[in-house]
Symmetry: C2
Subunit: 129 residues, 2 copies
Amino acid sequence: MNQHPIEIQIERADKAIVAEDFDTLLQIYTKDAILVIEPGRIAQGREAIRKAFESIAIYFKNGLQVRQNGMEILESGDTALALANTLISAPNLPEVERKATYVFNKDSNGTWLCSIDNSYGHEIISKNA
Amino acid sequence: MNQHPIEIQIERADKAIVAEDFDTLLQIYTKDAILVIEPGRIAQGREAIRKAFESIAIYFKNGLQVRQNGMEILESGDTALALANTLISAPNLPEVERKATYVFNKDSNGTWLCSIDNSYGHEIISKNA
Protein backbone atom coordinates (compact mmCIF):
# COMPACT_ATOMS: atom_id res chain seq x y z
CA MET A 1 0.00 0.00 0.00
CA ASN A 2 1.27 3.47 -0.83
CA GLN A 3 2.12 5.68 2.09
CA HIS A 4 0.31 8.96 2.43
CA PRO A 5 2.73 11.90 1.89
CA ILE A 6 1.97 13.00 5.46
CA GLU A 7 3.07 9.60 6.81
CA ILE A 8 6.33 10.07 4.93
CA GLN A 9 6.75 13.54 6.48
CA ILE A 10 6.11 12.16 9.96
CA GLU A 11 8.66 9.39 9.38
CA ARG A 12 11.19 12.00 8.24
CA ALA A 13 10.44 14.07 11.34
CA ASP A 14 10.82 11.08 13.67
CA LYS A 15 14.17 10.14 12.10
CA ALA A 16 15.35 13.75 12.30
CA ILE A 17 14.38 13.95 16.00
CA VAL A 18 16.28 10.74 16.79
CA ALA A 19 19.30 11.96 14.78
CA GLU A 20 19.02 15.47 16.30
CA ASP A 21 19.06 16.79 12.73
CA PHE A 22 17.08 19.93 13.45
CA ASP A 23 17.69 21.56 10.05
CA THR A 24 15.81 18.70 8.37
CA LEU A 25 13.24 18.66 11.15
CA LEU A 26 12.36 22.35 10.83
CA GLN A 27 11.73 22.00 7.08
CA ILE A 28 8.68 19.90 7.98
CA TYR A 29 7.01 22.72 9.95
CA THR A 30 5.14 25.78 8.68
CA LYS A 31 6.58 29.20 9.52
CA ASP A 32 4.01 29.79 12.30
CA ALA A 33 3.80 26.20 13.50
CA ILE A 34 2.90 25.43 17.10
CA LEU A 35 4.60 22.69 19.12
CA VAL A 36 3.19 21.53 22.44
CA ILE A 37 6.37 21.06 24.49
CA GLU A 38 4.34 19.71 27.41
CA PRO A 39 0.79 20.39 28.60
CA GLY A 40 0.58 24.16 29.20
CA ARG A 41 3.85 24.97 27.35
CA ILE A 42 3.90 25.90 23.69
CA ALA A 43 6.60 26.95 21.22
CA GLN A 44 5.52 28.90 18.12
CA GLY A 45 7.61 29.49 15.00
CA ARG A 46 10.58 27.58 13.62
CA GLU A 47 13.27 29.16 15.81
CA ALA A 48 11.28 28.57 19.02
CA ILE A 49 10.62 24.99 17.91
CA ARG A 50 14.34 24.43 17.23
CA LYS A 51 15.22 25.69 20.74
CA ALA A 52 12.53 23.45 22.23
CA PHE A 53 13.87 20.35 20.46
CA GLU A 54 17.43 21.23 21.50
CA SER A 55 16.27 21.35 25.14
CA ILE A 56 14.22 18.17 24.74
CA ALA A 57 17.29 16.35 23.33
CA ILE A 58 19.39 17.34 26.35
CA TYR A 59 16.58 16.54 28.78
CA PHE A 60 16.36 13.01 27.34
CA LYS A 61 20.14 12.46 27.50
CA ASN A 62 20.46 12.64 23.70
CA GLY A 63 18.72 9.29 23.50
CA LEU A 64 15.12 10.08 22.54
CA GLN A 65 13.42 7.39 20.45
CA VAL A 66 10.15 8.04 18.59
CA ARG A 67 8.03 5.62 16.58
CA GLN A 68 4.44 5.37 15.44
CA ASN A 69 2.23 2.45 16.38
CA GLY A 70 -0.77 3.02 14.13
CA MET A 71 -1.91 6.17 12.35
CA GLU A 72 -4.95 7.54 10.51
CA ILE A 73 -5.06 10.61 8.31
CA LEU A 74 -8.18 12.66 7.57
CA GLU A 75 -7.78 15.04 4.63
CA SER A 76 -10.03 17.95 3.66
CA GLY A 77 -8.70 20.20 0.90
CA ASP A 78 -5.37 21.69 1.97
CA THR A 79 -5.82 20.71 5.63
CA ALA A 80 -5.30 17.31 7.21
CA LEU A 81 -5.40 15.78 10.66
CA ALA A 82 -3.10 12.89 11.56
CA LEU A 83 -3.96 10.83 14.62
CA ALA A 84 -1.19 8.56 15.82
CA ASN A 85 -0.28 6.23 18.63
CA THR A 86 3.20 7.60 19.22
CA LEU A 87 5.71 5.57 21.24
CA ILE A 88 8.40 7.59 22.99
CA SER A 89 11.32 6.37 25.07
CA ALA A 90 14.73 7.54 26.26
CA PRO A 91 17.50 6.35 28.57
CA ASN A 92 15.63 8.12 31.40
CA LEU A 93 12.07 7.43 30.13
CA PRO A 94 10.45 3.97 29.96
CA GLU A 95 8.43 3.68 26.73
CA VAL A 96 5.12 5.57 26.85
CA GLU A 97 2.37 5.74 24.26
CA ARG A 98 0.87 9.13 23.48
CA LYS A 99 -2.34 9.76 21.56
CA ALA A 100 -0.74 12.31 19.26
CA THR A 101 -2.57 14.84 17.08
CA TYR A 102 -0.81 16.54 14.18
CA VAL A 103 -2.37 19.08 11.80
CA PHE A 104 -0.82 19.56 8.36
CA ASN A 105 -1.36 22.22 5.68
CA LYS A 106 -0.53 21.78 2.01
CA ASP A 107 1.62 24.68 0.76
CA SER A 108 1.53 26.26 -2.72
CA ASN A 109 4.08 23.65 -3.94
CA GLY A 110 1.83 20.80 -2.82
CA THR A 111 4.05 19.92 0.15
CA TRP A 112 2.36 18.97 3.42
CA LEU A 113 3.83 20.88 6.37
CA CYS A 114 3.00 20.49 10.04
CA SER A 115 1.23 23.54 11.52
CA ILE A 116 0.17 22.04 14.88
CA ASP A 117 2.23 19.36 16.65
CA ASN A 118 0.55 18.11 19.80
CA SER A 119 1.91 14.73 20.77
CA TYR A 120 0.02 14.92 24.08
CA GLY A 121 -3.46 14.78 22.52
CA HIS A 122 -6.21 15.30 25.09
CA GLU A 123 -3.70 15.38 27.99
CA ILE A 124 -3.51 19.15 27.39
CA ILE A 125 -7.09 19.65 28.59
CA SER A 126 -6.91 20.97 32.12
CA LYS A 127 -8.51 18.69 34.66
CA ASN A 128 -10.43 21.48 36.38
CA ALA A 129 -12.09 22.63 33.14
CA MET B 1 -12.94 34.76 30.50
CA ASN B 2 -13.78 35.39 26.86
CA GLN B 3 -14.74 32.38 24.84
CA HIS B 4 -12.67 31.55 21.79
CA PRO B 5 -14.73 32.04 18.59
CA ILE B 6 -14.25 28.32 17.89
CA GLU B 7 -15.79 27.41 21.25
CA ILE B 8 -18.78 29.54 20.28
CA GLN B 9 -19.02 27.72 16.93
CA ILE B 10 -18.88 24.32 18.67
CA GLU B 11 -21.60 25.42 21.11
CA ARG B 12 -23.75 26.53 18.15
CA ALA B 13 -23.15 23.19 16.45
CA ASP B 14 -24.03 21.20 19.57
CA LYS B 15 -27.28 23.16 20.02
CA ALA B 16 -28.13 22.72 16.34
CA ILE B 17 -27.53 18.95 16.57
CA VAL B 18 -29.79 18.64 19.61
CA ALA B 19 -32.46 20.81 17.92
CA GLU B 20 -32.01 18.94 14.60
CA ASP B 21 -31.55 22.37 12.99
CA PHE B 22 -29.37 21.15 10.14
CA ASP B 23 -29.47 24.43 8.17
CA THR B 24 -27.71 26.19 11.04
CA LEU B 25 -25.45 23.19 11.60
CA LEU B 26 -24.20 23.08 8.01
CA GLN B 27 -23.22 26.77 8.09
CA ILE B 28 -20.50 25.79 10.57
CA TYR B 29 -18.78 23.40 8.11
CA THR B 30 -16.51 24.19 5.17
CA LYS B 31 -17.69 23.18 1.70
CA ASP B 32 -15.37 20.12 1.63
CA ALA B 33 -15.63 19.25 5.31
CA ILE B 34 -15.19 15.67 6.48
CA LEU B 35 -17.34 14.10 9.18
CA VAL B 36 -16.39 10.79 10.77
CA ILE B 37 -19.81 9.09 11.08
CA GLU B 38 -18.24 6.16 12.87
CA PRO B 39 -14.77 4.56 12.66
CA GLY B 40 -14.28 3.58 9.02
CA ARG B 41 -17.22 5.65 7.69
CA ILE B 42 -16.81 9.20 6.46
CA ALA B 43 -19.14 11.81 4.93
CA GLN B 44 -17.57 14.57 2.85
CA GLY B 45 -19.24 17.80 1.75
CA ARG B 46 -22.23 19.65 3.24
CA GLU B 47 -24.94 17.57 1.58
CA ALA B 48 -23.38 14.27 2.64
CA ILE B 49 -22.95 15.64 6.17
CA ARG B 50 -26.64 16.70 6.26
CA LYS B 51 -27.73 13.20 5.24
CA ALA B 52 -25.44 11.68 7.87
CA PHE B 53 -26.87 13.87 10.65
CA GLU B 54 -30.43 13.07 9.50
CA SER B 55 -29.64 9.36 9.81
CA ILE B 56 -27.87 9.86 13.14
CA ALA B 57 -30.93 11.72 14.51
CA ILE B 58 -33.23 8.84 13.57
CA TYR B 59 -30.77 6.24 14.86
CA PHE B 60 -30.72 7.98 18.25
CA LYS B 61 -34.55 8.22 18.44
CA ASN B 62 -34.47 12.01 17.89
CA GLY B 63 -33.02 12.36 21.36
CA LEU B 64 -29.30 12.90 20.87
CA GLN B 65 -27.65 15.07 23.54
CA VAL B 66 -24.17 16.54 23.08
CA ARG B 67 -22.08 18.55 25.52
CA GLN B 68 -18.43 19.37 26.04
CA ASN B 69 -16.61 18.52 29.25
CA GLY B 70 -13.38 20.44 28.81
CA MET B 71 -11.75 21.77 25.65
CA GLU B 72 -8.44 23.17 24.45
CA ILE B 73 -7.80 25.05 21.23
CA LEU B 74 -4.45 25.29 19.46
CA GLU B 75 -4.32 28.01 16.80
CA SER B 76 -1.71 28.49 14.07
CA GLY B 77 -2.54 31.13 11.47
CA ASP B 78 -5.80 30.24 9.73
CA THR B 79 -5.82 26.67 11.07
CA ALA B 80 -6.82 25.48 14.52
CA LEU B 81 -7.22 22.19 16.34
CA ALA B 82 -9.87 21.80 19.04
CA LEU B 83 -9.53 18.87 21.44
CA ALA B 84 -12.61 18.18 23.51
CA ASN B 85 -14.02 15.70 25.96
CA THR B 86 -17.40 15.31 24.29
CA LEU B 87 -20.29 13.74 26.20
CA ILE B 88 -22.93 12.06 24.07
CA SER B 89 -26.14 10.39 25.15
CA ALA B 90 -29.53 9.42 23.73
CA PRO B 91 -32.63 7.48 24.82
CA ASN B 92 -30.88 4.35 23.51
CA LEU B 93 -27.31 5.33 24.47
CA PRO B 94 -26.01 5.70 28.04
CA GLU B 95 -23.71 8.72 28.26
CA VAL B 96 -20.26 8.11 26.74
CA GLU B 97 -17.25 10.40 26.64
CA ARG B 98 -15.38 10.71 23.38
CA LYS B 99 -11.95 12.27 22.92
CA ALA B 100 -13.07 14.45 20.04
CA THR B 101 -10.78 16.18 17.53
CA TYR B 102 -12.06 19.08 15.42
CA VAL B 103 -10.03 21.04 12.86
CA PHE B 104 -11.17 24.55 11.92
CA ASN B 105 -10.09 26.89 9.12
CA LYS B 106 -10.59 30.65 9.14
CA ASP B 107 -12.32 31.81 5.94
CA SER B 108 -11.73 35.10 4.09
CA ASN B 109 -14.36 36.80 6.30
CA GLY B 110 -12.53 35.75 9.45
CA THR B 111 -15.11 33.10 10.35
CA TRP B 112 -13.86 29.80 11.75
CA LEU B 113 -15.44 26.83 9.96
CA CYS B 114 -15.02 23.15 10.74
CA SER B 115 -13.14 21.21 8.05
CA ILE B 116 -12.58 17.93 9.93
CA ASP B 117 -15.06 16.64 12.51
CA ASN B 118 -13.83 13.48 14.19
CA SER B 119 -15.61 12.98 17.50
CA TYR B 120 -14.06 9.50 17.79
CA GLY B 121 -10.47 10.74 18.14
CA HIS B 122 -7.96 7.88 18.13
CA GLU B 123 -10.72 5.24 18.04
CA ILE B 124 -10.50 5.47 14.23
CA ILE B 125 -7.03 3.90 14.23
CA SER B 126 -7.43 0.29 13.21
CA LYS B 127 -6.31 -2.13 15.88
CA ASN B 128 -4.36 -4.33 13.47
CA ALA B 129 -2.25 -1.43 12.21
